[in-house]
């Protein structure tokens, strides 16, 4: 079992954080995980992406040309990475930002209105949790409980008030693809 995921968007959209959450959760479930960011000089408007591997075997290459899943948070990301997705792979699109559609017929596409849902839930900052929910639900690679536990740990102590919000966002994201 091995998932190779690319998460890509504008710098500041939170793609790197989604990747970290996936890696953290994978680690919590005892998987071998890696997270590798693209990095470069400060160029706003550019695309920032990261590569995440979740695997039951030791991870060889932390970077790869052909992801099993793509999470595209903006249009340039979809344009850049769609072609490389492994046949039969899944593409998650932040449909609030991206109006383009996935072109390849051999891919499963989920259009997740992350920001909209986040605002519905009450805080635009939780849109990443929505996408995470969608990913977890669609791939089944991670247990929802793991993510929820992770959320609880992330917001331990004084920030505990954010837990329900995040869990709600996560669940709404899961619901999107079910």
């Amino acid at each position: 079992m091995k998932k190779e995921i690319i998460i890509s968007g504008f710098g500041g959209q939170g793609g790197l954080a989604i990747g970290k959450n996936l890696a953290e959760a994978g680690m919590a479930e005892g998987l071998n995980v890696t997270w590798a960011p693209s990095y470069g000089p400060e160029m706003r408007g550019g695309t920032a992406n990261c590569s995440v591997v979740l695997s039951d075997k030791p991870v060889g290459s932390p970077v790869f040309a052909h992801p099993t899943e793509l999470i595209a948070l903006n249009e340039p990301s979809l344009a850049k990475f769609e072609a490389g997705v492994l046949p039969g792979g899944i593409v998650f699109v932040n449909s609030d930002v991206v109006t383009d559609k996935v072109q390849r017929p051999d891919l499963t596409a989920y259009y997740v209105p992350c920001s909209q849902i986040a605002e519905e839930v009450g805080n635009s900052k939780v849109s990443n949790m929505v996408m995470l929910g969608a990913y977890v639900a669609a791939t089944g690679i991670l247990k929802p409980e793991t993510i929820e536990k992770m959320i609880e740990e992330m917001f331990a102590g004084p920030k505990a008030k954010f837990i329900p919000l995040n869990i709600e966002a996560f669940r709404r994201g899961m619901a999107c693809v079910q």
């Binding site: 000089p41 400060e42 160029m43 706003r44 408007g45």
Partner: protein
């Protein structure tokens, strides 16, 4: 219909890679316009630093050389000494010029090398993601002084224009900024004057431009503009620091 203003012929058509509102772009065009207006473009050789303006060679239409980090004054010395009648300029950031390249700028100034330095002081290492520069203000946060620069740890910020002005070879040093039209006009006058003095073989000419780094300052461009005026200009006084013709206190 006459064109009142358009992108300078001294700039290529390439899109600038700078962050929104970053002053590098404004400073670039003042240099480009000055070269065009003085008829120096076809003659000029520019030297870019390592810093956010590392790609300046993509933007200026004159010949350009990319220097190693901090070494632009040495590179420019190599060029100008062998091409004494051509216009040579360096474009350097504060990490590049005031930190790693401190020896090279001091010595170019001491020798009175006849090129013009455009020193873009944004009080931070922009390109590498916001580390402390020698010009970072006391209390200002950076990724290598996350609770703000302290005198105890890093000393008081360095005023390069003032320090270089102690050297006889430096004949002209002015500090400007580009936050508004009045200052932009002053900055351009200063840059043109520096090039004129260079072509008159007077000596080393130095224009320090206070500049914003909205990204690493963590501010909007407008907020950054404001912060520059209130904080940077207070510590780094604007105006002529040295002019060998008119001695200014």
């Amino acid at each position: 219909m006459a064109i009142v203003y358009q992108k300078s012929a001294g700039l290529t058509d390439a899109e600038l890679h700078y962050c929104p509102g970053c002053h590098h772009g404004i400073i670039h065009k003042l240099v480009a316009e000055s070269l065009v207006e003085l008829g120096l473009l076809d003659d000029a050789i520019g030297v870019c630093p390592v810093g956010c303006s590392v790609f300046a060679y993509n933007y200026f239409t004159c010949d350009m050389q990319e220097a190693a980090h901090g070494r632009a004054p040495a590179v420019a010395t190599g060029i100008k000494r062998t091409h004494p009648n051509q216009a040579v300029f360096t474009y350097q950031g504060d990490g590049d010029l005031a930190s790693i390249g401190a020896a090279e700028i001091v010595h170019a100034a001491m020798r009175g090398e006849k090129f013009t330095t455009i020193f873009v002081n944004n009080a931070i290492y922009g390109m590498t993601g916001g580390q402390m520069a020698p010009t970072t203000l006391i209390g200002q946060r950076a990724t290598t002084c996350q609770s703000g620069r302290t005198v105890e740890q890093a000393g008081m910020p360095i005023r390069m224009a003032e320090m270089l002005s102690t050297l006889d070879g430096c004949v002209y040093a002015e500090r400007v900024c580009v936050t508004d039209i009045a200052n932009i006009n002053k900055a351009k006058r200063a840059i043109k004057k520096a090039f004129e003095k260079q072509m008159n073989r007077e000596g080393f000419t130095f224009i320090e431009v206070l500049s914003t780094c909205p990204t690493n300052w963590g501010m909007t461009p407008l907020k950054a503009n404001q912060w520059l005026k209130e904080n940077m200009a207070a510590y780094y006084p604007l105006g002529v620091i040295k002019d060998s013709s008119v001695e200014v206190k």
